[in-house]
Subunit: 294 residues, 2 copies
């Protein structure tokens, strides 16, 4: 069992830290917000009052933070992880951030003699609670082997997908696929509705053929019931698509459909729907059709 520093006790971080406690690790968790710390404590997660307190003496420090700048600050900034990490300590960032930033952070830790991994997750709040996340890991093989079992306390699928930044690359690709599948569902729904089809029956037939998808299996019922409670919030998917588009531009990948889907997701955020589930792309598609006189 390990001494684990854990920074970031949001909707995902809290249940992940709780699963580490349940697996027998000695966890010291911190979150900037007092509410996050209080809720985590309520789940049985030992909390501390600062990043240095979480980091000092830890065998490994995990972060689960909203965005790239947060991770940069906590990992590399003053009184951050790198500054206080014990000589043999390792760092694993589980946030979803820019692959380039993940590579840079890994280099900084490696230069100081620390193992570092990027290990973003998919599976949402339910996966975090149930310990069934998919965890995509980038970094050295030896570091992956060393921390694989600990990561297994939070997820059922723990796969090394490449070198430093590689986890973030796969997570970004995942997010472009999911957003595009949601928009495919949205366009199918408005097309079917415009033609007065029995949408539920139609989608069940489509799901059985080459058009089948996990998005269709998990999201169609909610969409048809007009239920857009998250789930995974539009605002977070918007952030993730920003990472995809930046990383695509940086390496010269032309993604025409992702660009369109990105603008539709952006439109949802701009009109104040960032708090809805990302399947709200269907609601937006319906509204685009509302202006058309049939």
């Amino acid at each position: 069992m390990a001494v684990v520093g854990f920074v970031g006790l949001g909707v995902m971080g809290r249940p992940m830290a709780a699963n580490l406690v349940r697996a027998g690790h000695e966890v010291r968790a911190y979150s900037r917000g007092g509410a996050g710390r209080a809720t985590a404590a309520g789940l049985g997660v030992p909390v501390v009052e600062s990043v240095p307190e979480a980091v000092r003496g830890a065998d490994v420090v995990l972060t689960m933070l909203p965005d790239t700048p947060d991770v940069r600050t906590v990992a590399l900034g003053p009184d951050g992880v790198l500054e206080h990490l014990a000589p043999a300590g390792a760092y694993i960032d589980m946030s979803t951030i820019e692959p380039g930033a993940a590579r840079e952070i890994a280099e900084r830790f490696a230069a100081a003699g620390h193992d570092a991994l990027d290990a973003p997750v998919s599976g949402g709040e339910a996966g975090a609670r149930e310990g069934t996340l998919s965890i995509m890991v980038g970094g050295p093989v030896a570091a992956f082997e060393r921390w694989r079992e600990l990561l297994g306390a939070m997820g059922t699928t723990v796969v090394r997908v490449g070198d430093a930044g590689g986890g973030q690359v796969v997570k970004a690709a995942n997010q472009l696929v999911v957003a595009t599948h949601l928009q495919a569902l949205a366009e199918a729904v408005v097309f079917l509705e415009a033609h007065d089809a029995d949408v539920a029956t139609a989608l069940s037939v489509i799901a059985r053929g080459l058009g089948g998808s996990t998005v269709l299996d998990r999201k169609a019922d909610g969409v048809l019931a007009g239920d857009f409670e998250p789930g995974f919030r539009v605002a977070l998917h918007h952030k993730d698509l920003g990472i995809v588009e930046d990383a695509a531009r940086a390496r010269g990948a032309v993604l025409p459909v992702t660009a369109v889907v990105g603008r539709l997701v952006q439109s949802l955020v701009l009109r104040g729907d960032g708090g809805l589930d990302h399947s709200a792309l269907v609601a937006l598609a319906r509204e685009l059709n509302g202006a058309v006189d049939r």
Copy 2:
């Protein structure tokens, strides 16, 4: 068992007619092309020399033709199905055509006292051969019940999805979903390649999460091997997306991503790749990136 007229002995029609023969029906099959008739005869399908010979005295006439104008001509034109169909005869079109044309054809047959169904299929040549097609049926309930078992000789999923034209509406929605999922795969692949990821491992991880799809399950291996042998030809998917876009415009459905995917599929046709499998969207996406200096 029924007397079945069958018009259209292409890649799909031939094995479908053969499965009807195998189920014990008395089939009279015709195709404009002599090669189609010869190949069908080789599969044990009794062939005749004209549409009227296939239609006269049949309990039901099926058509499996390339596009809307072909179906209009054979169904409604001089010496066509309507002209020669026995008084109690029924008509089932299994081609993929415009929903509006399917509705109009159904009305013409109904006005002459005939049952008519639109029953497009998905599942491709393999599904046609193995009798495992999904068949999406539009038309009156009584007619569907009457011919359901006969359709079951060609497919494992036979579902009534709505009134006349309804089968075509669901098929069109299916085709927009499949094309969009293929483009999602294409953009994920070029993104992953641009970041030097292990694409096969990455796709296998994505397939296990919310990004999973039947397209990913069935097409990823071929794509990664650079194998774009059809399968389902780009030219046919291009035709189908034309139907989708026309039908969307006719009823006021705004489909922004389908529009982009439609242009990319069109581009494949224009550059002479219409004969490749529709997963060649991945090859096109790679080429779009080839012009970028990394």
